[in-house]
């Protein structure tokens, strides 16, 4: 049993999805999905323990040994992200019951869970696999499932957002496919570790550069790096709340994982950073993303879209850390991956509770909510403070490492810009705080009640995680540093 953990990680949600269709009854399906996700979470914890005690796990699918067969390969980086994805997914499912009942018709609920499980399968598959083509397949599984989930939003704009995402996402995926094809053409292998060994021999060919370029552009589309982020704000804004929670906290993170994996483990640091102007490009785009998206976020009246833009800005920080090209920078990126999932998970879950009661996420509707829904609003405030990077929240930890990395590389001006960027976050977060706490409630409506407990509990688990991991940083920082070190070792 224990040696099959890597494949179980993917199989559990994959098999659970069709079973949902058989169960049909929405309430049954809901708990079944929750259990499947929880099992996946337990599985990921076991995997991390196994990796920490035994080192990297290699699992041959169907007993066919790599590079002929498909290999699943779990090292610290995968295990770290597996835990992130499964934990957020489980928490989101805890809140899914009431939220979905409000936002979807009952007929659709079951299908939502099916799509959700398939999306989870895809994300976990990307993380677990050691095969380049498998990455593409799983990427498409998760993407198709997320288009479906987004299209289920109440507003008709959800359909349009989903369609746009589908077009952009498919172009991105096809770019990735081209990249993988060209790599295969030059090396004759699809196994990532085989690729890493064979690529140096053909490193200086144009085909390899082209492959790299196609691949990176495709992945950047998926991870919504500015200016390829256009699909993201509407998709997050109009999707059902639970889908937003799940996608915002995990999908882009997994795309960043793919980028890291190929830059460091497959192509190697040398190739990526020495032969190509990747560093300059990443830093420039990261910074532009931080500023452009934060400024646009300030002008949003739809709070969900506001935080969606903020996500684009936060992705900018992650890419910036990667662009520094040092161990500390990579640590900052890895920390922010985890921390940002916690913040946005908490914020979007709180917004789910808000939609449940208020029905709108327009800024106007927030008037006086500070008193009427104190717990929900407090969750948004703590999440917001974390976004800004106030000490004792997780946001501070990742920002600290990012600034430190920039100073180590003697990039003073960029460090200043990063800090100015967090001030922009102050503005958009404070717009909400002001309306919620210092504006009188609209008089024509009866006072709203606090969000249902089933939504509040997972929200507050994440809020407390925001604070806990901001104070006890042993787990995140320790792991991130270890991973960063190991990625640099592989790269050398």
């Amino acid at each position: 049993m224990i040696e099959h953990l890597p494949i179980l990680q993917v199989i559990i949600p994959l098999l659970a999805a069709p079973i949902c269709l058989i169960l049909r009854e929405a309430r049954l399906v809901r708990w079944f999905t929750f259990i499947a996700s929880a099992l996946a979470f337990v599985n990921s914890i076991l995997l991390l323990q196994q990796v920490q005690t035994q080192g990297t796990i290699s699992y041959s699918l169907g007993g066919w040994v790599a590079p002929i067969g498909i290999e699943y390969r779990i090292d610290l980086l995968n295990a770290y992200l597996l835990i992130l994805v499964t934990s957020i997914s489980t928490l989101a499912l805890l809140a899914a019951g009431p939220s979905l009942r409000k936002e979807l018709s009952e007929r659709k609920e079951t299908y939502f869970y099916v799509a959700y499980l398939l999306c989870l399968t895809g994300l976990l598959g990307i993380l677990a696999t050691g095969d380049a083509f498998n990455v593409f397949v799983f990427l498409e599984i998760s993407s198709l499932a997320s288009y479906t989930m987004i299209a289920m939003g109440r507003d008709r704009r959800a359909l349009w957002a989903s369609y746009q995402y589908l077009i952009m996402g498919t172009i991105g995926a096809t770019f990735i496919l081209i990249g993988i094809g060209l790599m295969y053409m030059m090396t004759g292998t699809l196994n990532m570790y085989d690729l890493a060994e064979r690529l140096p021999e053909v490193q200086q060919t144009k085909t390899v550069f082209t492959a790299f370029a196609f691949f990176v552009v495709g992945v950047c589309l998926k991870l919504a790096l500015f200016p390829l982020h256009l699909w993201l704000p509407n998709a997050y804004a109009y999707a059902p709340s639970i889908a937003t929670v799940f996608l915002a906290a995990t999908a882009t993170k997994v795309a960043i994982y793919v980028l890291l994996r190929f830059i460091f483990s497959v192509y190697g640091f040398e190739f990526s950073f020495s032969h190509l102007p990747l560093q300059e490009i990443l830093v420039a785009l990261g910074l532009m993303g931080v500023f452009a998206a934060s400024i646009v976020a300030i002008y949003q009246d739809n709070v969900k879209r506001l935080f969606a833009y903020s996500s684009v800005a936060q992705i900018g920080y992650m890419i910036l850390g990667l662009g520094v090209g040092s161990k500390t920078g990579l640590t900052a990126t890895l920390l922010h991956l985890f921390n940002h999932a916690l913040m946005k998970g908490a914020i979007f879950l709180a917004l789910a509770g808000l939609i449940y009661r208020v029905g709108s996420v327009n800024l106007k509707a927030f008037s006086g909510l500070g008193k009427q829904m104190p717990w929900t609003m407090a969750a948004i405030v703590v999440g917001g403070l974390s976004l800004i990077g106030v000490p004792l929240t997780v946001g501070f930890v990742s920002k600290w490492y990012l600034v430190l990395a920039l100073l180590e590389s003697n990039w003073w001006p960029i460090a200043v810009l990063v800090l100015i960027g967090s001030l922009l976050a102050v503005i958009y977060v404070w717009r909400i705080v002001e309306v919620a706490y210092f504006r009188k409630a609209m008089q024509d409506s009866a006072p709203y009640k606090e969000a249902p407990l089933m939504i509040l509990i997972p929200t507050w688990i994440l809020v407390l995680a925001n604070i806990y991991f901001g104070i006890d940083t042993g787990f995140t920082v320790g792991l991130s540093e270890q991973i960063a070190a190991s990625l640099f070792e592989v790269a050398k």
Binding site: F133, Y163, L166, I171, T174
Partner: protein, 121 residues
């Protein structure tokens, strides 16, 4: 290395660019999907054509044949085709729903209606 020797790549590039162009330039949602399919198909051709070995046969184990085409890309592309079909199907389903909700499949009309809706909020 002359022009014709690499003609398969030229076809791929021409198909790819025309597909890409259709996706970007056309406002009709169905046509965009058609463009997307052309775009994807060009990549399938890229895979399949590169597995062809000159004078190779189908990969059947037989003493009479020494040179085979590489079967792996075919298998990969089978998967990719399935993915492509799923994408197209989902896209078309979305277009049907969009037509129901907006009464149009033209991009600019839809965006206009969205703007109106946002203005009224």
């Amino acid at each position: 290395m002359n022009f014709l020797e690499q003609y398969n790549y030229w076809i791929v590039i021409i198909l790819m660019m025309s597909g890409f162009y259709i996706v970007i330039a056309h406002g009709n949602l169905i046509k965009k999907l058609i463009g997307l399919t052309v775009f994807q198909t060009s990549v399938f051709i890229l895979y399949i054509s590169m597995s062809k070995v000159t004078a190779g046969t189908a990969p059947i184990l037989n003493e009479a044949y020494k040179v085979y085409s590489n079967p792996l890309p075919h298998v990969l592309i089978l998967t990719a085709i399935v993915v492509g079909i799923a994408t197209t199907a989902l896209g078309l389903a979305l277009v049907v729903r969009i037509k129901e909700a907006y009464g149009s499949v033209e991009e600019d009309l839809i965006q206009e209606k969205d703007l109106q809706q946002e203005g009224s909020e």
